[in-house]
């Protein structure tokens, strides 16, 4: 059975093409691109909400996109126990929908951050199965609101349920930061309780091809396919 997937495009999405290439190149299966005004989703194994500035980030990052027509179908897809991955703005949209806990607030230095970052896996789930413990991945980030925040009660829940998928860490060399954007407990990505929905700030779709600076973004799709 080949792996089927889809990418949702909102007005202002700008990583939708990147996500489509990422899926096409790594899954070798059928990949659909779905416009936000559609009211149906094909039956696929994975849906990606891509990065970008959906609706210009007006109101609040992800807020307007979370009210798009297609979102009902995206929620149904997740409730069906199939995979849903929100990258960057997609992560912000998932917290706005309420599929993921917490919120993404402005980076601690109040500046956009576009650079390579280093992350490692925290708790095991189907998105990071093929990543070794303590393996350091190099993946770019590009965000203004990537500082993950939640209250203590929620944080304890996330820990107890092992919902923290990735955390920021130092790279192998000097002059790299522990926690680039000030996220609580350096959280870079979390899942829902059932662990079929992942939101992450780093962009794995920009780190998979031979010509990219790193190929560590492959592990996520490889984990899902294996």
């Amino acid at each position: 059975m080949s792996f089927k997937s889809a990418v949702i495009t909102f007005p202002g999405s700008n990583c939708d093409r990147d996500a489509l290439c990422y899926l096409k190149d790594l899954t070798k299966g059928e990949v659909h691109n779905i416009w936000h005004e559609e009211t149906s989703l094909p039956k696929v194994d994975l849906v990606i909400l891509p990065g970008g500035f959906s609706f210009g980030d007006y109101l609040r990052s992800g807020a307007m996109a979370s009210k798009s027509k297609i979102i009902d179908e995206v929620v149904k897809h997740a409730n069906d126990n199939r995979y849903l991955l929100g990258i960057c703005n997609g992560f912000q949209i998932l917290t706005e929908i309420g599929l993921l806990e917490g919120a993404l607030i402005r980076n601690k230095k109040l500046k956009f951050l576009g650079k390579n970052c280093f992350i490692k896996k925290k708790f095991k789930n189907n998105f990071n199965l093929s990543i070794k413990d303590n393996q350091i991945l190099q993946i770019p980030v590009a965000h203004n609101e990537g500082n993950f925040y939640c209250d203590t009660e929620t944080l304890n829940l996330l820990k107890n349920n092992e919902q923290i998928a990735f955390e920021y860490c130092k790279g192998e060399f000097s002059n790299t930061e522990e926690n680039i954007n000030g996220s609580i407990e350096a959280i870079a990505g979390i899942t829902n309780k059932k662990k079929n929905v992942l939101g992450m700030m780093p962009h794995p779709e920009r780190a998979y091809s031979d010509f990219h600076q790193s190929q560590d973004g492959r592990f996520i799709i490889e984990s899902l396919i294996s």
């Binding site: 990583c15 970008g52 609706f55 779709e205």
Partner: protein, 721 residues
């Protein structure tokens, strides 16, 4: 018409008399507005035209030279590359965030107007001394603005330059460059195809922002002006531009559009006049149909520079389909006029013709000046005293000068990897992106050496072009073509005019030698405030390619133990201007010795050696030598805690500037092959040392690697905040 009103519109009384005589009647206020917009320096190049005509603009790969929204070059198969650089200096000084943001927005529209999808941006920004609060405010605002616009629309920023120097204290420079990929058989031009075609308005509604922006850009500033002029800075909305870009590219690929023109400087006036002029036709536009944000007079609509707007010509039969596509992207769309055979520009408002002018008088009869210019006097040669210079102090001088420090603080605010095709990010000698779906890569670099050009405009400009050229060569990118942004002070001063004329001449000489024609450009004059002129700053944006992405070089050290060779010819320490200036040996421009004549044939010879060695896979990493000499080049190459151990006859040599200068890293096992290759080619080389772990050693003197790296990598942020 009273004189004051004419002068307020930036026209001289002589210019007004030319118009008056031609028309043989009085002008309406709207018509005066049109001449104000079209006859200023920004739109008609009245001072520079005579000299720009001398530039080489064509060769076998040029598809479109200057004169369109952007130049286009051929990249084999069906691939074309559209690119251009443009300035937004004055608006960015008055309102740094919006001024720089709309600079990026404007240059991106120039690219997708040609039917090209933008694939990269670069910039060249210059500020005054960081000691003033004002500079900190400007730097923060400009970087935020460039980042905000590019990040949101989703085009990677792949490089540029950022420098600080006192003559920019009251007149910062913001030049933005964009590069796009176009299919050669789907290039769009501004020339309309048929009489009777509908003129349609696409994009944001028109508001009061930016009225008289273009004529502001052609004015000398005084400090008091700043607050007064703020309302004429445009406000950008990158989200709207993203929708506009996607909408327009979809219309173009669906074949629904005949021609397109973006509404940039001087808004609807300039775009419609240019359309008429290019097609040798007339235009009729009903201003009552223009979508408005607020009630505006005809005069205001004509001169508004509201952002994110396009003017297109379509066939009547496609009206419905065009509307459908634009509705999907939620973009305003209105038919506002048509192409006529009258060769006149006619604007109607409230059933009254407010403008009725022959295209000829606006465009062809635009003034062209042959301004007086002086050639700088010959300089006397002198020897500087280097006896008190210590190596430690030289290093400290560089590490406390913003111009030498790592500028990640700037670049990290830009998204440089969106679109997934970025190969080299900002901070390397050139930015490189892949042409989507191919193995081809495009490299680009922006450069200028204002100090060199002030000392000797002709030779200095040759060095500037050569620096861009070396930046590309170092990555094994084959240089192809140039866009330029000529930033100068007031040309009414014959000394400044001399800098303009001679540097254009130097640009010509170098471009001819390198076979890199100038395919697009921009001129920004009157860059002076309170009578302090900026240093001459003609910025070069050079674009090149490699057909195989696996062949490009990195600028970063690869492996401990590899050898470090130097190629090129060192300039003597008495003739290395940045060494003298930045090591505090010479202060005043008149103290400097003349530049050594740059041998462009030698540049080409060494460049070819680098390209050949790269193709032979003998070069592990390579960087060009520019400001700060070998030492600065080596600092930039550090990576993953790798440093260097070098030996040179005189430590000062490490800080001298170069012609055709490159640092190359090679494996010890390739040493014989590389050196015999170089000897065979008659290219001298210097074997100066090797790459070591976590160390910096110069002539056996050890320096604290982590201390130097910490300063180099992190002090920029400390100094500017």
């Amino acid at each position: 018409m009273n004189e004051e009103l004419i002068l307020q519109h930036g026209l001289t009384l002589d210019e007004f008399q030319v118009i008056r005589k031609y028309l043989n009647r009085d002008l309406s206020i709207e018509e005066l507005g049109i001449f104000s917009a079209m006859w200023n320096e920004h739109c008609c190049y009245k001072t520079s035209k005579k000299w720009l005509k001398k530039l080489p603009t064509d060769n076998e790969i040029v598809i479109q030279g200057p004169g369109e929204n952007a130049g286009v070059i051929d990249l084999q198969d069906n691939d074309g590359i559209a690119f251009k650089i443009e300035s937004h200096n004055h608006p960015s000084y008055i309102e740094p965030f919006n001024g720089s943001a709309t600079g990026v927005g404007g240059i991106l529209r120039d690219i997708f107007t040609m039917g090209a999808r933008p694939i990269a941006t670069l910039d060249s920004i210059r500020f005054g001394l960081i000691e003033t609060e004002k500079t900190k405010y400007l730097l923060n605002g400009v970087v935020h603005g460039i980042g905000h616009y590019g990040n949101c629309i989703g085009i990677p920023n792949i490089g540029g330059e950022c420098e600080f120097e006192s003559t920019y204290d009251f007149n910062n420079l913001v030049n933005a460059m964009a590069v796009g990929h176009v299919q050669k058989d789907k290039i769009f031009y501004s020339k309309p195809k048929s009489i009777g075609g509908l003129i349609v308005y696409i994009g944001s509604k028109t508001g009061k922002d930016g009225i008289h922006g273009a004529s502001m850009a052609s004015d000398v500033f005084s400090e008091e002006d700043e607050d007064e002029k703020r309302p004429s800075v445009q406000v950008g909305d990158p989200f709207m531009e993203k929708l506009l870009m996607e909408g327009c590219l979809e219309l173009m690929s669906s074949g629904l559009i005949e021609s397109m023109q973006d509404m940039g400087a001087a808004g609807i006036t300039s775009s419609s006049v240019e359309m008429a002029s290019k097609g040798n036709v007339g235009v009729y536009i009903n201003l009552d149909k223009v979508p408005l944000r607020q009630p505006l007079s005809a005069y205001e609509i004509l001169l508004s520079e509201s952002q994110e707007r396009m003017l297109a010509v379509i066939d009547k039969k496609n009206n419905h389909k065009v509307r459908e596509i634009l509705q999907k992207w939620q973009i305003d769309y209105e038919v506002i006029g048509e192409i006529t055979d009258t060769k006149r520009v006619v604007f109607e408002s409230n059933n009254k013709k407010v403008v009725d002018l022959p295209v000829e008088i606006i465009v062809d009869d635009a003034p062209e000046y042959d301004r007086e210019f002086y050639i700088p006097r010959k300089r006397k040669n002198k020897d500087f005293d280097f006896s008190k210079i210590k190596l430690e102090d030289m290093i400290i001088n560089l590490l406390t000068n913003l111009n030498y420090l790592d500028k990640s603080w700037v670049f990290d605010q830009y998204d440089s990897t969106v679109m997934g095709d970025t190969i080299r990010e900002p901070g390397q000698s050139s930015g490189i992106v892949k042409i989507h779906g191919t193995q081809k890569v495009i490299g680009a670099s922006t450069d200028c050496n204002p100090l060199y050009i002030r000392i000797n405009p002709y030779e200095g400009m040759k060095y500037t072009v050569a620096e861009s050229y070396r930046n590309l060569i170092a990555c094994n990118i084959n240089p192809l073509a140039i866009t330029n942004n000529l930033n100068f002070a007031s040309p009414l001063d014959p000394n400044i005019m001399g800098e303009l004329v001679l540097s254009i001449h130097g640009l010509k000489t170098a471009a001819v030698k390198f076979n890199t024609p100038i395919v697009s450009g921009n001129v920004s004059l009157y860059n002076q405030t309170n009578e302090i002129p900026i240093k001459p700053t003609p910025v070069i944006g050079m674009v090149g390619s490699n057909m195989d992405l696996n062949k490009i070089n990195t600028n970063k050290f690869c492996e401990i133990g590899n050898k470090i060779l130097i190629l090129g010819k060192q300039l003597t320490k008495n003739c290395s201007p940045y060494l003298l200036q930045d090591q505090k040996i010479a202060f005043n421009i008149c103290e400097f010795n003349d530049l050594e004549v740059l041998d462009l044939d030698f540049e080409k010879k060494i460049a070819n050696c680098v390209l050949e060695l790269s193709d032979l896979k003998c070069i592990m990493s390579c960087n060009d030598i520019s400001r700060g000499g070998i030492f600065s080049a080596l600092l930039k190459m550090q990576y993953k805690d790798m440093g260097f151990r070098v030996k040179v006859p005189d430590p000062i040599d490490l800080f001298c500037e170069y012609s055709a200068g490159y640092v190359i890293e090679i494996r010890s096992k390739d040493f014989e092959e590389v050196t015999s290759f170089l000897t065979k080619k008659g290219a001298e080389y210097l074997d100066i040392g090797e790459i070591i772990k976590e160390g910096i050693e110069i002539n056996s003197k050890k320096f604290d690697y982590f201390d130097i790296m910490n300063k180099y990598l992190n002090d920029f942020e400390k100094i500017i905040s």
